[in-house]
C-alpha cells in the first residue's frame, strides 16, 4: 500500500470519527444550557442579529446581575443557520446531545421549527416559536413540546381586524369597509388566508387577498390592483425586502401609509426605515413595545454593556423591535426555568422539566413589572391546552425615525379561533398517530 493510500484512509477515518463523535461542544457543567440556532449572515441577518442579540444580552444580565437563576448560571452556544432549513436541522443534530442538555430550542424560523417537531418531541425538549410557528401547535394536548408563545398567526389576524374595527368606530362599522390583504408568496404568507375569509364573513367587510411573489421586489401590478379596488385599509403581511418596497410603491400609487397595517413580520425598523418618507404614518402590530425606557433594557445597558459583554455590534439597535423581542424571549425562557426550579429544585434541569415550566408560565402584569418589563410586553398565561398564553398585542406608528405606540393592549378573539385550531391539531394527530393528552386531568394532577 502506498503512503498516499494510508494517508487517504487516515483522513477518511479521522473525518468520519470527527463528524461522528458526540457532537456536544464543551459546555460549562452545572449550567442551564440554551442552544441557539442563530442567523447573523444572509438575507434575514437583521432579524437574527437583533433577536439573538437581545436574547443573549438578557441571559448575560441574569448571570451578571443575579448570578444566574437561583444560583444556576445560564450558558449557550451559537450555530449559524442563515435561516436555511437544512442548516437549522444540522445545527439541531449537532447541539442536541450537549452536556448539560438543551433547555429549549428557539430557532426563530417557521421552516426550521416545522422540521424539528418530530425530533424534539422524541427528545422531550421544548421548542419555542415566539410570535410565529405552527398555529395549531397552540393546542398543547397534541403538541406537548411546542410553544408558539405570546401570539400565533391566527391571533395576529384577529387582532389586526379588531384594531381596524376600533379605527372605524366599532366592529359594527366594519360591514361597510373594504380590506385588502397583501401577503408574501410563501407558506408563512398563506397561513392566514382562511382566517381573513372567516372574519370577513363574521363582520361582513369586503375582502381581497393579493399575493406578492417572493422576494417581493416588484409590486407595481399589485398596487395598481389595489388602487382599482380602492380599499379602506391594506394589511401588509410581508417579509424582508417586500415591506419597504410595498410602502414605496403605495406612495407612488397614492395610497396613504397610515391606512396600511403591517403584521408582526413587517413591524421592524428594518422594514420602515429603508422606505424613507413613504413609511411616515405606517402602522404595524407588535407584541412588545420598542425603546429603551424599560428598567430591564436600562439594566442591560448599565450592567452587561458596561462590563463589555454586550452582544450588539451596533449599540444603537438596542431597543429596536427585534432586539426587544429577543429580550422578551429571554424573559420567557428564564422565567420558565425559574418556575420549573420551584418544582424540581434549584439545579440544572432537563428539557422535559423546563417544558413543565413553560406549561405553567404565568406572568401577571405585576410579575412583568417586577421583572422590569412593564410596558415592554403585557402578560402571559400558558396552560396545558393553551401553549400561546393569551398574549396581548399593541399597535405602533412610524414617525419617520422611530415607532410610537398608538393603541392600548388588544386581545384577539381567541374563542372564535379555538375550534379551528383544535380541528387542525386533531387532523395532525390523526395523520401522525398521536393520542392527544387529556389536559383536564393534567390540571387536576398539578
Amino acid at each position: 500500500m502506498s503512503l498516499r493510500k494510508h494517508l487517504a484512509g487516515a483522513v477518511f477515518a479521522a473525518a468520519l470519527a470527527g463528524l461522528g463523535a458526540p457532537a456536544a461542544q464543551a459546555q460549562t457543567p452545572g449550567t442551564q444550557y440554551f442552544p441557539l440556532q442563530s442567523y447573523r449572515v444572509g438575507p434575514y441577518a437583521a432579524g437574527g442579529t437583533g433577536f439573538f442579540g437581545g436574547f443573549i444580552d438578557y441571559m448575560n444580565l441574569i448571570n451578571l446581575r443575579d448570578g444566574g437563576v437561583n444560583g444556576v448560571k445560564l450558558s449557550w452556544s451559537e450555530c449559524e443557520t442563515q435561516y436555511i432549513v437544512e442548516q437549522g436541522v444540522e445545527c439541531y443534530e449537532r447541539m442536541k446531545n450537549s452536556n448539560p442538555p438543551p433547555s429549549a430550542w428557539n430557532p426563530l424560523s417557521v421552516g426550521i421549527a416545522y422540521a424539528m417537531i418530530p425530533g424534539i418531541t422524541a427528545d422531550k425538549v421544548p421548542l419555542i416559536t415566539i410570535d410565529h410557528g405552527r398555529t395549531d401547535s397552540t393546542d398543547g394536548a397534541v403538541f406537548p413540546y411546542v410553544f408558539p408563545l405570546l401570539m400565533n398567526p391566527y391571533s395576529e389576524t384577529s387582532a389586526i381586524v379588531n384594531f381596524i374595527g376600533s379605527k372605524v368606530g366599532g366592529d359594527q362599522n366594519l360591514g361597510s369597509k373594504s380590506i385588502v390583504v397583501l401577503y408574501h408568496g410563501s407558506p408563512y404568507g398563506r397561513e392566514t388566508i382562511p382566517i381573513y375569509q372567516l372574519l370577513a364573513q363574521k363582520y361582513g367587510f369586503k375582502l381581497q387577498q393579493i399575493e406578492v411573489p417572493d422576494p417581493g421586489t416588484e409590486q407595481e401590478a399589485q398596487w395598481l390592483e389595489i388602487r382599482r379596488i380602492h380599499p379602506d385599509f391594506v394589511v401588509l403581511r410581508g417579509w424582508g425586502v417586500m415591506n419597504p418596497v410595498a410602502l414605496k410603491t403605495a406612495q407612488k400609487t397614492g395610497f396613504p401609509a397610515n391606512h396600511i397595517i403591517g403584521n408582526v413580520w413587517s413591524n421592524s425598523e428594518e422594514d420602515a426605515k429603508p422606505a424613507g418618507d413613504a413609511a411616515k404614518g405606517y402602522i404595524a402590530l407588535t407584541t412588545q413595545a420598542t425603546g429603551t425606557s424599560y428598567p430591564v433594557i436600562q439594566q442591560i445597558e448599565s450592567t452587561v454593556y458596561a462590563a463589555g459583554k454586550g452582544d450588539m455590534a451596533d449599540k444603537s439597535r438596542i431597543g429596536s423591535v427585534y432586539y426587544n423581542l429577543g429580550v422578551v424571549n429571554g424573559i420567557l425562557n428564564v422565567e420558565a426555568v425559574r418556575i420549573a426550579q420551584a418544582k424540581f429544585g434549584d439545579q440544572t434541569l432537563t428539557g422535559d422539566q423546563v417544558r413543565w415550566g413553560f406549561e405553567h408560565l404565568n406572568l401577571s402584569p405585576d410579575r412583568v413589572k417586577a421583572l422590569g418589563a412593564a410596558g415592554l410586553f403585557h402578560s402571559i398565561d400558558v396552560t396545558c391546552s393553551d401553549h400561546e398564553g393569551h398574549g396581548l398585542v399593541t399597535f405602533q406608528q412610524w414617525d419617520g425615525t422611530q415607532w410610537h405606540r398608538i393603541s392600548d393592549w388588544i386581545a384577539p378573539d381567541w374563542a372564535l379561533l379555538r375550534p379551528i385550531i383544535e380541528a387542525s391539531a386533531n387532523k395532525y394527530a390523526a395523520q401522525n398517530g398521536i393520542t392527544p393528552r387529556d389536559c383536564q386531568s393534567q390540571v387536576a394532577s398539578n
Binding site: 441577518a45 417557521v110 408568496g185 397561513e191
Partner: protein, 344 residues
C-alpha cells in the same frame, strides 16, 4: 454482460462497509445530518449525471423534479391507505419520470444554454403549482407537509440508523442499475447523442427516443431522491426547500464530482455536503467562543470557494478523474517495480 472488475469489487466492499460496519457507530448526528442527506443528494446528482453528463442535456430543473417526487410520495401515502413504502417511492419516481419527459420535450429542438434556460420553466412552474394548489399539500394552507410515520412491512422506520439503511439500500440498488444502464446499449446511445447528434443519427440512433428516455430515467432517479430527502432526511417539506439554489447545488455536485461518471455523483456530494460541515464544525470548535458565528460562517464559505477553484484547477474533469489518475499512477508505479524486479 457487466464485467465484474476491480472497480465493482471496490464499490461492493464500500457498500458492505457502509451497510454492516457504519451503522454501529453510535452517533445520530452522523446519520441524520450527514449520511442520509448525502445519499439523497448523491442519488439526485446521479440522476442529473445520466441526463447531463451522459446524454449531454443540461438541466436546471433538478430541484423541481425532487419536489415532484417528494410531493407525489406524500400524496400517494396520504390518499392510498396501506400503500407499501417501497411501492410509494417507485410511484414517486414514475410520476416524476412522466413530468420529466414532458419538460424534456424542448430538448428535441434546443441545445446547450438554450435548453438549460428552458428547464428553468420546470423549476418555476413546479414551485408555483405546489404553492398555489393546497391539494398538493393535503389541504394544509401553509403548504408545509409533515411526513406520516413510515413502515416497511411491520418494521417502523423511526430511528436515524433505520432511515439511513433504507436510503443506503435504495441508493445502492439504483446505482447498480445505473451502472448496468450506462455500460450497455442505452449508455452508448446517450454518449453518441451527447458527442455528435448528427453522427448519432447517421449511425441509426433514434435521437427522439434516446433523449426522452434519458429525461425519463434521470427524472425517475431525481424523483426518488426527492422522496428520500423529504421522508428520510427532513421529514417535513415545503416547496421553498426545492428552489433554484438546490438545482444549482446538484449541478455543482456533478461538475465537481465529474460529468459522465457514476462515482462522480458520490464524490461530488461528499464534497458539497460533508466538507462545509467539517469546516463549520472545525470553525465552531476553534473559534466558537471568541468570534461571532456569522463571521466564522463567512470565512468557511471563502475557504470552500477556494477549495472548489483549487480542485477544478488541479482536475477540471472532476474528483472522479482525480481518483482515476491516482489509481492509474499507482498501477503504473507497481508495474515499473515489477519489471525492474524481474531484471535483477
Amino acid at each position: 454482460m457487466a464485467r465484474f472488475n476491480k472497480l465493482h469489487a471496490a464499490a461492493a466492499a464500500l457498500f458492505l462497509l457502509m451497510a454492516l460496519v457504519v451503522p454501529f457507530i453510535p452517533s445520530d448526528y452522523l446519520f441524520d445530518a450527514i449520511l442520509t442527506p448525502m445519499l439523497a443528494i448523491s442519488l439526485a446528482a446521479l440522476g442529473l449525471n445520466l441526463l447531463a453528463g451522459y446524454a449531454g442535456q443540461v438541466s436546471l430543473g433538478s430541484a423541481a423534479f425532487m419536489a415532484v417526487g417528494a410531493f407525489t410520495a406524500y400524496n400517494c401515502l396520504l390518499r392510498v391507505p396501506g400503500l407499501p413504502l417501497l411501492v410509494d417511492l417507485g410511484l414517486a419516481g414514475l410520476v416524476t419520470a412522466a413530468v420529466g419527459v414532458f419538460f424534456g420535450l424542448p430538448s428535441l429542438r434546443l441545445q446547450g444554454f438554450y435548453l438549460a434556460v428552458s428547464t428553468l420553466a420546470a423549476q418555476f412552474f413546479v414551485q408555483w403549482a405546489l404553492t398555489n394548489f393546497a391539494w398538493f399539500s393535503g389541504g394544509d394552507t401553509s403548504g408545509v407537509i409533515t411526513t406520516p410515520p413510515l413502515f416497511i412491512g411491520p418494521m417502523a422506520i423511526d430511528s436515524p440508523v433505520r432511515r439511513y439503511l433504507l436510503s443506503l439500500l435504495i441508493v445502492a440498488a439504483l446505482t447498480a442499475l445505473a451502472v448496468r444502464l450506462v455500460s450497455g446499449r442505452a449508455g452508448r446511445e446517450f454518449l453518441a447523442v451527447r458527442d455528435h447528434e448528427l453522427a448519432a443519427r447517421v449511425l441509426g440512433v433514434k435521437i427522439l427516443r434516446t433523449k426522452l428516455f434519458a429525461c425519463a430515467v434521470s427524472s425517475f432517479y431525481i424523483g426518488v431522491a426527492g422522496a428520500l430527502w423529504a421522508f428520510l432526511y427532513l421529514r417535513t417539506v415545503e416547496p421553498a426547500g426545492f428552489d433554484l439554489d438546490r438545482s444549482f447545488e446538484i449541478l455543482f455536485v456533478i461538475i465537481i464530482g465529474g460529468l459522465a461518471s457514476i462515482r462522480g455523483a458520490f464524490l461530488g456530494a461528499a464534497f458539497i455536503v460533508v466538507l462545509p460541515l467539517l469546516l463549520s464544525r472545525a470553525g465552531a470548535a476553534v473559534f466558537g467562543s471568541t468570534f461571532d458565528s456569522g463571521l466564522v460562517d463567512i470565512v468557511e464559505k471563502i475557504i470552500l470557494g477556494v477549495l472548489i477553484i483549487f480542485f477544478l484547477r488541479v482536475e477540471p474533469a472532476g474528483l472522479s478523474a482525480l481518483v482515476a489518475r491516482i489509481r492509474w499512477q499507482h498501477i503504473t508505479r507497481s508495474r515499473t517495480v515489477e519489471t525492474s524486479g524481474s531484471l535483477t
